[in-house]
């Protein structure tokens, strides 16, 4: 009887006749590659382990904070803001889809929800533009998280393949609701956000800061989840959900929790986006391209890793923004995008982080070996 669910991936059983386990030799060959890739995956920070990584992190954060002061061209900071929002959104996407292995391709529903919740909050609280509005971002995230609960509950009742399509369908429903639920969204007229009183020269800086904070939060959450037992359960679900069930993992609860976390974080990104854009319209808040872009970023960087989505976003978003502005010819832009996607998917199905982790590992091995043969 055919099932179209098979939680286990291509980690196929290799029947092996020689199973005297040598407990001391460093395994080499395919086994070695697999374990090294996994080490890269489980450690997350592939360039160094140990105290060095905290230094690296500090340097990166410092660079990120200083960035708008060094490059204060508004066009550049604008790209940076979008990039940071995607860093957050891609990390959020990865926290569920990457760790649990369920491809959710409708996260734009949460991005847009966050935007609309933000707009509604700002309007109903009668807020005027300014820094205070940023305080609404976590609330918008919370609101989106609440929305994510029933959505997740429904979507997770289905199997992996159906799940993907259901998330896509949910996205389109949300888009339709944005157009039709006039009472809440004002339909295609859109909803305005309060206009901040900041000068043009510093305008972007505020949003950059907000976007950076949201991105850092998203990555921090991804990191925390990864190293917790909760994260371990997600990974177990990814590798073999039935085996996890048999060991007592409450997969339904775990998956839903991760899904809601993703929704909340994505909603926060959408909230900042709404404020930055100044108004919320259905086609921009609920953009089908977003769904695929965040997934692609995570894939490019390395699915299931922590730095993967970050790297993926840092690479792809500036490219996307560049193409958006440079290629005014809409048709040609689409062709280039599509081709770019195909190239990315075609050549790096594993992702940059695991691939470079393996490369680094191989280099280290070679260095060690050449040292030994002296």
């Amino acid at each position: 009887m055919r099932t179209d669910t098979d939680p286990t991936d291509a980690d196929s059983a290799n029947t092996d006749s020689a199973n005297t386990a040598s407990t001391d030799a460093t395994p080499v060959g395919p086994a070695h590659a697999a374990s090294a890739a996994a080490d890269a995956e489980t450690s997350g920070f592939w360039w160094t382990a140990g105290p060095g990584r905290w230094v690296c992190l500090a340097v990166i954060l410092a660079a990120a904070v200083l960035f708008p002061f060094v490059f204060n061209n508004p066009a550049t900071t604008s790209v940076a803001i979008f990039t940071l929002l995607y860093v957050g959104a891609a990390s959020a996407w990865n926290t569920f889809s990457g760790y649990a292995g369920y491809m959710a391709l409708g996260n734009a529903a949460f991005y847009g929800s966050g935007a609309y919740v933000m707009a509604n909050l700002a309007t109903h609280l009668g807020m005027r533009g300014g820094v205070a509005v940023f305080a609404l971002v976590p609330l918008a995230g919370l609101g989106t998280g609440l929305i994510a609960i029933p959505v997740g509950w429904l979507a997770l009742r289905t199997r992996r393949h159906t799940f993907v399509v259901v998330t896509i369908a949910v996205f389109f429903i949300f888009q339709l609701l944005a157009y039709n639920l006039r009472s809440v969204t004002d339909g295609s007229a859109g909803m305005p956000m309060p206009l901040p009183p900041w000068l043009a020269v510093e305008y972007n800086d505020y949003f950059y800061a907000a976007a950076l904070i949201v991105a850092v939060i998203a990555v921090a959450v991804a990191w925390t989840v990864r190293r917790s037992s909760f994260g371990l359960k997600l990974l177990a679900i990814r590798d073999d959900e039935d085996r996890a069930l048999g060991l007592g993992v409450r997969t339904g609860r775990v998956k839903l929790s991760a899904f809601v976390i993703t929704g909340t974080l994505t909603g926060m990104c959408g909230a900042v986006y709404a404020y930055y854009l100044g108004s919320v319209y259905p086609p921009f808040a609920f953009d089908a391209l977003f769904d695929v872009t965040v997934a692609l970023m995570a894939f490019l960087g390395g699915l299931g890793t922590i730095s993967g989505p970050v790297i993926g976003a840092l690479i792809l978003e500036p490219v996307q923004q560049y193409l958006n502005t440079q290629l005014t010819d809409a048709g040609f832009a689409l062709i280039v995008f599509g081709a770019l996607f195909l190239v990315v998917v075609g050549f790096l199905p594993e992702g940059i982080v695991p691939a470079s982790g393996r490369l680094l590992r191989a280099l280290r091995i070679r260095a060690a070996r050449s040292g030994v043969t002296e």
């Binding site: 993907v164 894939f299 832009a333 996607f341």
Partner: protein, 294 residues
């Protein structure tokens, strides 16, 4: 109101038939290849544009033009399968297929925008705006033709699947890919064939779609979202399910437009999916989670 509802039901059935054909292609592709062809929507649009060009530039009747567009789309499907799908690794195959086919869809959309611009078009023919008056129902020619053709092709597809050798291979591959390979079925060829069929049916859908709706390259999104809903509703991999789901969903949508409002009709279309999934997560005819542990 009663006659309006009845009219809506009739239209729903007629349009449902055409959607059923396109959805059948999509679900067949999933069943055999375990991939979700997101490009199905834009391929319908491509089919529409091909029909349009044949009609506008060469004066060929859209339905007659199918003799050209169907093989053309079939070949396009085979080319896409060979060029992009075949190279997908087994890991994350379904998810990757979504990304790949989405990318292909974007490229096609871009090409169409370049060639035809974003202006809305429709296919013209003598029968486009005329209808039969039968027992008080208005039966638009184009829908009746489309439905008849779709019904014919679905029957042909059924015969093909159940009475021909390649059809047998397809069904075998659907049920057990590894097993099919073991008995000598060339999975690559079956995949190419299946994808080609999935593409070929979009040519037919495209002609009817193009004649009844004004379209531009952006119309692909709406189409694929509907097709996806239909195949999930019917149960991924079930051709019969796609048929029932297509007709049911379209009827519900058309009736809602009459009874409630056209604005909410499309939302209800998706809502039907939600309701069904609440009761049957596997869709109407999808396979229940069979013994997972073996």
């Amino acid at each position: 109101m009663g006659t309006q509802i009845a009219q809506a039901v009739v239209e729903g059935v007629l349009t449902g038939g055409v959607y059923a054909l396109m959805a059948a292609g999509l679900t067949l592709i999933f069943g055999v290849m375990q991939i979700i062809n997101i490009a199905q929507g834009i391929m319908v649009v491509l089919g529409a544009y091909l029909s349009y060009s044949l009609q506008a530039d060469l004066g060929i009747d859209p339905f007659l033009g199918l003799f050209l567009t169907v093989p053309a789309m079939f070949l396009a499907g085979v080319a896409i399968e060979w060029g992009f799908i075949r190279r997908l690794r087994p890991q994350n195959r379904t998810a990757l297929s979504i990304l790949v086919t989405f990318a292909v869809a974007i490229v096609i959309e871009g090409v169409l925008t370049q060639v035809y611009s974003s202006d809305l078009r429709t296919i013209d023919a003598w029968y486009v705006d005329r209808s039969w008056l039968l027992f008080g129902f208005h039966l638009p020619y184009i829908y009746v033709f489309g439905f008849a053709l779709a019904a014919l092709l679905i029957a042909a597809l059924h015969l093909f699947l159940y009475r021909s050798r390649p059809g047998f291979s397809i069904r075998a591959a659907m049920q057990n890919r590894a097993g099919a390979e073991l008995i000598g079925i060339d999975i690559d060829r079956v995949s190419a064939l299946t994808f080609g069929i999935g593409a070929a049916v979009t040519a037919v859908g495209g002609t009817v779609f193009g004649a009844t709706t004004s379209f531009n390259p952006n119309s692909g999104y709406d189409l694929i979202s509907r097709l996806l809903v239909i195949v999930v509703l019917g149960g991924l991999g079930s051709v019969g399910g796609a048929l029932v789901a297509a007709v049911a969903a379209l009827v519900v949508e058309d009736v809602t437009a009459v009874v409630w409002s056209p604005v909410w009709a499309s939302t209800v279309f998706f809502a039907v999916l939600i309701v069904v999934l609440l009761l049957r997560p596997q869709g109407l005819f999808g396979q229940r989670e069979a013994a997972r542990a073996h």
